[in-house]
C-alpha cells in the first residue's frame, strides 16, 4: 500500500477504495450487495434505488398531494428528506407535507414532535399534527391511567393507523407514504406467519395498500435496509429522535426483530429473501378471508360491524377496556394471548429492545 493522505491514521487511511468510483475511500459495506462504497457513491445509489422503486411501481402521479407520515424517528426523517429531494430533482410534481400524530405521551411524543417541527423548517415541508385527544377524546397517558400497561400498545397502534388516515383525509391528501423499511417488512412477514394471520401475510409485502380505500398508503423504503437508512442519516447529519416510548414495547415483535438481525449478520440477503418469499405466497382458494366492509359508526374500513378503533373507544368510554382486545377470529386466540403475556412479563424492563410498538401497523 502507499501513503495516501498520511495524516494521523496511516494504516487505515490506506484502506480500501470505493468499488464504484475507485477513487475515494470506502465508508461502508452495503448489506444488499456486499459492495464497499464511499459516502458520495452511497448517497447516489441510495437515492437512485428509491427513485427506481418509485418509478417501477408507479407510486405517484404528478400533481398528487402526498402526506409523509413523520414520527421524528430515523425512518420517517430520512423519508421526508429523500422524498423532498427526489421530488425536486426528478420533478415528480408532488405537493408534499408532513403528517404527525400526537398520541399524548408526555416525555416521549412531545419531544419527538419537536424534532418533526425542526424538520418542517429544514426541509421546507408544511406540518400537520393530529392528536388522539382531538380525534378520540383520550390521550395515551389517560388511556394508560385507565387500563394500565397491558394492551396499551394495541390501543396506540389501532388509533395511530386511523389517525394517519383521518389526518391525511382532513388535509385532502391523495396518498400517504410511510417509512417502513425492508427490515420492518421482513419482520412483519415472519410475525404474520407466526400468528397464522393469512390476510395480513398476503398484503404485508404490498408496496401500496388501501387502493380501494380513501387514502392509499405506500412504502418507498420497502427494499431499503435499515442499516443504510441509519448510515445515511448519520453521514448526512439528519436530526432524528431515538428515545423509546415510555410505555412498554411489543416483546413478541422484539424476538422476531432479533432473529432477523441475527440472520442479517450471517447473510444480509436474508432480509430481501424473506420479503420475496412473502411476495410469492399464494393463499389457498379454500382459505376463508375476512370480508372487508365499513364500520357502521365511523365509516372506516372494517371486517366487523364496528372497526377496531370504535370498539376500543367504546370499551374505554363504558369502562370496559377489555372490549376489543385479542383476536375476533381463530380458535386458539386465547392461548396465544396468554403466551404473549408470559413473554411480555419475562421481558419487562427491556424497553429499548424493540422498535416502538405500533409503528409497524400494516
Amino acid at each position: 500500500m502507499e501513503e495516501g493522505s498520511a495524516t494521523a491514521k496511516p494504516r487505515r487511511a490506506t484502506g480500501r477504495l470505493c468499488s464504484t468510483c475507485n477513487q475515494r475511500k470506502a465508508a461502508l459495506k452495503r448489506p444488499k450487495t456486499l459492495e464497499q462504497i464511499c459516502r458520495e457513491c452511497f448517497y447516489r445509489v441510495f437515492e437512485d434505488e428509491i427513485h427506481n422503486v418509485i418509478m417501477d411501481n408507479n407510486l405517484f402521479k404528478p400533481g398528487e398531494r402526498v402526506a409523509v407520515a413523520a414520527s421524528g424517528g430515523k425512518d420517517s426523517t430520512v423519508l421526508a428528506y429523500v422524498m423532498s429531494e427526489l421530488n425536486r430533482r426528478h420533478n415528480y410534481g408532488l405537493d408534499l407535507f408532513l403528517l404527525s400524530v400526537d398520541e399524548g405521551i408526555t416525555g416521549y411524543r412531545d419531544d419527538s414532535l419537536e424534532t418533526v417541527k425542526r424538520n418542517e423548517i429544514e426541509y421546507g415541508l408544511p406540518l400537520k399534527v393530529v392528536s388522539y385527544k382531538d380525534l378520540y377524546g383520550w390521550t395515551m397517558d389517560e388511556i394508560v391511567k385507565t387500563i394500565g400497561l397491558k394492551n396499551n400498545c394495541t390501543f396506540c397502534g389501532v388509533f395511530r393507523r386511523q389517525a394517519l388516515d383521518r389526518g391525511a383525509a382532513l388535509m385532502k391528501a391523495d396518498k400517504l407514504v410511510t417509512g417502513h423499511n425492508a427490515d420492518d417488512i421482513a419482520e412483519t412477514v415472519l410475525l404474520n406467519i407466526l400468528r397464522g394471520d393469512i390476510a395480513r401475510l398476503s398484503r404485508c409485502t404490498f408496496i401500496t395498500t388501501g387502493e380501494d380505500g380513501p387514502i392509499p398508503r405506500c412504502k418507498p423504503f420497502k427494499y431499503t435496509y435499515e442499516k443504510e437508512i441509519v448510515m445515511y442519516a448519520y453521514f448526512k447529519k439528519l436530526d432524528y429522535f431515538s428515545t423509546e416510548c415510555i410505555y412498554s414495547p411489543n416483546a413478541y415483535r422484539g424476538f422476531a426483530r432479533e432473529f432477523i438481525k441475527d440472520l442479517e449478520r450471517m447473510r444480509p440477503r436474508a432480509i430481501l429473501d424473506i420479503i420475496r418469499s412473502g411476495e410469492n405466497f399464494r393463499t389457498a382458494t379454500s382459505t376463508k378471508m375476512p370480508e372487508q366492509g365499513t364500520c357502521e359508526r365511523c365509516g372506516y374500513i372494517s371486517s366487523q360491524k364496528l372497526c377496531k378503533a370504535c370498539l376500543l373507544l367504546e370499551g374505554l368510554n363504558r369502562g370496559l377496556p377489555k372490549l376489543g382486545i385479542g383476536r375476533a377470529r381463530g380458535t386458539n386466540g386465547l392461548n396465544k394471548r396468554v403466551e404473549q403475556r408470559n413473554l411480555h412479563s419475562e421481558r419487562t424492563g427491556s424497553s429499548i429492545e424493540s422498535k416502538q410498538c405500533g409503528t409497524l401497523d400494516f
Binding site: A26, L28, S71, Y240, S350
Partner: protein
C-alpha cells in the same frame, strides 16, 4: 490510548444519557495492541450502566448496532479484530428503535 466514543440511536441511554465519552483505554496486560474486541469488553464493564444485552452479544455488538471507526463502517476494517490507534473515534449507533 486516548479514544473518543460516541453513542447514538438510543444507546446513550445505557450510559447515563451521555453521547460522547473521551476515554483512556489500556491494552490488556502483556499485549501491546488494543482491538475492538478488547474495547467492547472495556465499554461493557466501564461505561454501560444498565442492560448490557442491548449493546453486546457474545464478543461483538448486538446485531443491529452499527459501528464506525473514524467514520468508516467497521465491517470494512475487520470488525472485532480491528486494531485501534491513538485518537481513534469510535461511534456506536443502535438501529433497533424509533421509527
Amino acid at each position: 490510548m486516548q479514544l473518543t466514543l460516541e453513542f447514538g440511536g438510543g444507546l446513550e441511554l445505557l450510559c447515563q444519557s451521555s453521547k460522547i465519552h473521551n476515554v483512556d483505554v489500556k491494552p490488556n496486560p502483556g499485549e501491546d495492541k488494543l482491538t475492538m474486541r478488547d474495547l467492547l469488553a472495556w465499554v461493557k464493564s466501564n461505561l454501560i450502566k444498565e442492560r448490557p444485552e442491548m449493546f453486546v452479544k457474545g464478543d461483538s455488538v448486538r446485531p443491529g448496532v452499527l459501528v464506525l471507526i473514524n467514520d468508516c463502517d467497521w465491517e470494512l476494517c475487520g470488525s472485532v479484530d480491528t486494531e485501534l490507534e491513538e485518537k481513534d473515534v469510535v461511534v456506536f449507533i443502535s438501529t433497533l428503535h424509533g421509527g
